[in-house]
């Protein structure tokens, strides 16, 4: 019982500390790059590619955060954006489909490669699945009457 309480408390503090240390710089970076128009310029360049899949430009930063750091961080960024009305429920769903299949890619891949896995088989199928299934999801919800 004491073990459980100590383990859980320490683990929880570590987890929340990590979330804080990652989410704060992410949100500040997002606000700065938006304030200086950097985000606009990057997004404009890759917009055609992401629109085929069904994403709107405001989903790009949550997607990048999720792909690099993990689904919870992508969600953290997205939750902030939802509050400001920048991201709709359908967009949140598409982001979740994509990130559900393809997130925390660097960390997960390195962990398994260290155990002997072949890196491109870890990355490529997940990436392709994420694109295809997000595209299918976008068309499915697009057809549904509101």
């Amino acid at each position: 019982m004491i073990d459980f309480v100590v383990d859980t408390s320490l683990g929880l503090i570590k987890l929340l500390g990590l979330v804080f240390v990652i989410i704060m710089p992410l949100m500040i970076a997002l606000e700065v790059s938006r304030g200086y128009g950097i985000l606009e310029r990057i997004v404009k360049r890759i917009a055609p590619a992401i629109e085929i899949v069904g994403f709107k430009k405001d989903s790009v930063f949550p997607l990048l955060a999720g792909i690099l750091f993990g689904i919870s961080y992508g969600a953290g960024v997205l939750i902030g954006e939802t509050k400001k009305g920048r991201i709709s429920g359908d967009q949140a769903f598409l982001v979740a489909v994509f990130l559900g299949l393809f997130h925390a890619v660097i960390e997960d891949t390195l962990l398994f490669v260290a155990q002997g896995a072949v890196w491109w088989i870890l990355v490529l199928p997940r990436f392709l699945l994420a694109i295809v299934l997000t595209g299918i999801a976008a068309r499915t919800i697009g057809r549904r009457p509101k």
């Binding site: 383990d7 929340l16 989410i23 949100m27 953290g76 979740a96 559900g100 002997g116 699945l129």
Partner: protein
């Protein structure tokens, strides 16, 4: 060039706004992650997951994996990748087996925590969770059929 930067907002104000957003997102995540973390920690201590994985042992052969990896899969699903790796690191798996496990668990892991987060995003968790479970299992099955005997 098109629109210039908004000169009325100084860098300091932008950073402060970002920090405010960060605090909002942090507390939103905290409220969902803390209770789920305690629940998962309880599962770990009660050793229920070992019992569940015993029932899955015979099915591992469909993924080209030894029965002992059932525990790694269940720990990965319920807890996280680190718990899964700790469970299979000593099994002496081949590169092929680790790769299959990596794809299955890469797609499908940490479900209590991540499904709760998806629910907080208002992003149809009842679709996302089964989707990841099914795609993860299907990919393990497919890779076992497609990958050559030695990688």
């Amino acid at each position: 060039m098109s629109t210039a930067r908004p000169a009325e907002r100084s860098l300091l104000r932008i950073v402060l706004e970002g920090a405010r957003q960060g605090m909002y997102s942090f507390f939103a995540l905290l409220k969902i992650m803390a209770p789920v973390y305690v629940f998962v920690s309880l599962l770990k201590h009660l050793e229920i997951l070992g019992v569940i994985s015993d029932h899955l042992t015979p099915y591992m052969k469909y993924f080209g994996l030894p029965g002992g990896t059932a525990l790694a899969i269940v720990l990965g699903w319920a807890i996280n990748i680190y718990a899964a790796i700790a469970a299979f690191a000593g099994l002496g798996l081949t590169a092929r087996q680790v790769t299959i496990l990596g794809v299955m668990l890469g797609i499908s892991h940490t479900h209590f925590m991540e499904t709760a987060v998806v629910a907080r995003m208002n992003a149809r968790p009842w679709v996302i969770f089964p989707l990841r479970m099914i795609v993860g299992l299907a990919m393990g099955f497919l890779l076992n059929l497609l990958l050559p005997e030695t990688l």
